[in-house]
Symmetry: C2
Subunit: 488 residues, 2 copies
């Protein structure tokens, strides 16, 4: 489609057209990787290179032409602030990003389209055909807690190779971290009752898979999402909706059918008609060995007490109560005294409970100058100031082992600062993720999720007492920045 050009004529703001390039021009110089043709309307199966903002390619074109594309650069990912009232954030998505990175290639599918759409010139297409990220990435481990200014990812490479990753890096980390940051508050509020992720229907279908994964990183016990189960080895849960009860001639028939198919250990949804009658019928259908009942509407606190008494009175003392219905961290906390066994959480976890994205940015903080030395750079106009220079980060812990501050060191040799190895109070935060283009696969796949979940648990346990309360407050620990003298 071609929306009207915003300003008449063909020169809409920002739509710089590169000189016309025949679609196959680049093939002569360098054969691009071959990809099977993608089905109409679908991306090539695995390529991720067009999940990118156009300006990354136009910057590349200009920098290739003037030679600066090959300058060594350091980009950092950080957030200027936490969502209002939040006390910490949770890094998530690192594993997904590392899974996507090897597929960040420009195959014939992408190159043909870029040529047809005249996004960049022939020289740039040639470069893209051979593109492969060959730089290095260090970052906070997935699951780690973070604060404003924490250098969550430090990407080093040439400008050309690093600039192209901006959008993909931010899309993955901003989304997944928003979900994990909210999910962590929920699992914290739930204490040792399991939280179950059920929000797929309220999120983009692929975002839902990532959200399930991020929720598990932050301590959720399982997800309703089958693709998340398949892709990341997550435990999946789910039994029946109201539609199943309504499909049958009556509630008795529906419950009998479910128990016959799934066994008495199943979870019966008891609020389609009348909860009290529903509980009666549920125990009648499954016996006192009924696994659980689910409550999906009404005043859950009051209902849970009533249903618990009723179940106990019927002898179903081992039958659990799972509640679902627009739960968020506050609703979970308010149910702490109710006889609830687990929480099914949907909308609020997949939408970050009021903060659907993190404000992470991807900023150039140092680059090689004409003299070949790495120099710190930073934007200096009125707002959105960032701190130039490559950073190192550690968490300082007090005598009780709890975090007291986030320590950032900026300066020429920040990346090789010795973190006082005998000083156990300082825990270094940046770990290697990609080295000279090689992804450390131990952060990816199902094993990466387990590792991230464990990291999150340990990192959150290390926070100061009170850091996990839900009420609005400042970041749980302050961030201090030390500047080392000299050029970066």
């Amino acid at each position: 489609m071609a929306p009207d050009a915003p300003h008449g004529g063909g020169t809409a703001i920002g739509t710089d057209r590169a000189p016309a390039a025949p679609a196959t021009q680049y093939v002569g110089a360098m054969t691009p990787p071959q990809a099977a043709p993608a089905p109409a309307g679908l991306p090539s199966p695995t390529a991720t290179a067009l999940l990118t903002d156009r300006y990354e390619l136009t910057m590349l074109q200009a920098a290739l032409a003037d030679g600066t594309a090959h300058r060594r650069c350091v980009f950092e990912v950080f957030t200027r602030r936490l969502p209002p009232g939040r006390r910490y954030g949770v890094v998530a998505g690192t594993g997904r990003l590392l899974e996507a990175l090897p597929d960040f290639r420009f195959t014939a599918t992408e190159l043909d389209w870029l040529a047809d759409a005249r996004v960049v010139d022939d020289a740039t297409l040639e470069f893209l055909a051979g593109y492969r990220f060959g730089g290095s990435v260090r970052g906070y481990a997935e699951g780690e807690v973070f604060f404003p200014q924490s250098p969550l990812l430090v990407v080093e490479g040439t400008f050309a190779e690093a600039v192209l990753l901006e959008t993909l890096v931010l899309s993955v980390l901003n989304h997944d971290s928003a979900v994990a940051s909210a999910a962590s508050r929920m699992t914290s509020a739930a204490v040792d009752r399991p939280c179950l992720e059920m929000g797929a229907r309220r999120a983009h279908e692929e975002a839902a898979v990532a959200a399930a994964r991020a929720a598990v990183v932050a301590g959720f016990a399982a997800t309703s999402n089958l693709e998340a189960g398949r892709r990341y080895g997550l435990k999946t849960i789910g039994t029946a909706a109201h539609a199943f009860t309504l499909l049958h001639d009556d509630e008795e028939a529906a419950f009998a059918s479910q128990v016959a198919a799934l066994g008495p250990g199943t979870t019966l949804l008891v609020d389609t008609y009348d909860v009290r009658r529903g509980v009666e019928r549920a125990v009648a259908a499954a016996g006192t060995g009924l696994g659980a009942v689910r409550l999906d509407s009404g005043d859950l606190g009051v209902l849970a007490h009533e249903v618990r008494r009723q179940l106990d009175g019927l002898g179903a003392t081992g039958t659990r109560i799972v509640v679902t219905s627009d739960l968020d961290e506050y609703a979970i906390a308010s149910l702490a005294a109710a006889p609830v066994d687990s929480y099914g959480v949907g909308t609020s976890v997949v939408t970050g409970s009021g903060a659907p994205t993190c404000g992470m940015v991807y900023k150039l903080v140092a680059r090689e100058g004409r003299d070949g030395a790495l120099a710190p750079v930073e934007k200096r106009s009125t707002a959105k100031i960032s701190v130039g220079g490559r950073k190192e980060a550690a968490r300082r812990r007090g005598p009780d082992g709890r975090a007291v501050e986030e320590v950032l060191v900026v300066g020429p040799d920040a990346s090789v600062v010795t973190w006082a190895p005998d000083d156990e109070a300082l825990r270094p935060l940046l770990v290697p993720l990609v080295t000279d283009g090689e992804v450390d696969a131990s952060w990816t796949g199902p094993a990466g999720v387990v590792r991230a979940r464990d990291r999150h648990r340990a990192s959150r346990d290390e926070l100061p007492r009170g850091a996990r309360r839900l009420s609005a407050d400042e970041a749980a620990v302050p961030t201090v920045t030390l500047r080392l003298p000299g050029r970066d």
Copy 2:
């Protein structure tokens, strides 16, 4: 990974395990469609069938066993309320849903995993191997404005074929409609100045593609997202970030490089160091034919006036001003009197400007009973009541051609109600999308986006005067429900 079972033992709440099924058991009875093995960690390239909540499959298993799976059913998608203060919603995602529907197949990849994970029994695996949606779907045209209770989609088929679509339908429509509903307020506030979608970095990488598409449905002129451009034929925009200026030895060098590569019609980002100096250097680099300058920080209203005066004083009277920096519909409205030429919108559009998902639900409203007749059904417990029975919908317009009410008719022959064909005041809202399993492809692909954008423009123009103001209020028109007598 295997999170701890929430209640000890192996019988976590809701995790009913089907009896063990050898992974290839289903092959004997019915050969599943063959799919190439998916790369590790990635879904099979096009299958969408596991973007599903587990309970849809467990309900299917029980319904197959008791015979109710083959009962004819009507499911409807609707929302109980609009986000607080919103006056209308915008349907989006219909085209994407129709593109995904033919790929909702259980290939060997999905079936093997379902068997290995023991999600369902052998009989269900056999059914899934042959699954193809053969029912019919009618719905509000993509781009149409909607209100609470509007029957946005009416899905008819057997329980088995219709129940499996719940999560995919809701994921697509809830996400895309949330974005389009917010985007419509922005394009409305911008009046005839173009809005440009630039939010990919603040959304899951695939959700970003869908968000760009939804924004264009709601009137955005272009997107920064290249994959959205490729997949849906959208116009893409973008020139340079602060990193490009910082990469160079000074702003002059950066601007000269960009103009050399992209021509004087490009957009120069002038706020890296000092806006006044930046504008001077921009015009010096490109001449008075400079296409545009971009302001990405500071008080945009004040700055725009200053920059306009400066540009005019330098003779660059045709140079446009594009502003970006956490804009939402309110910020856009506040800039109405400023000399701004276009708005780049990021976070707020891709996150639905405070309403990141719609509350759409997928409810069984009628099903075949033992007597073979279709009977209305509805949940009747304390909350979340829905109206049973198949619905028809039309928008009634007043003498001035503007909408006055949403008319829903519920009842036995609602789907064949004659909408007083001579009465031009009633505009029918449900259009055929899928007929006996055949997708109407005219709603899909790039052409579908154009059609949806046109539909949205016409539908919004039809709203009552005042419906487009941003301040919080009730739905722009009331919804009236007429019940026809007799069984559904």
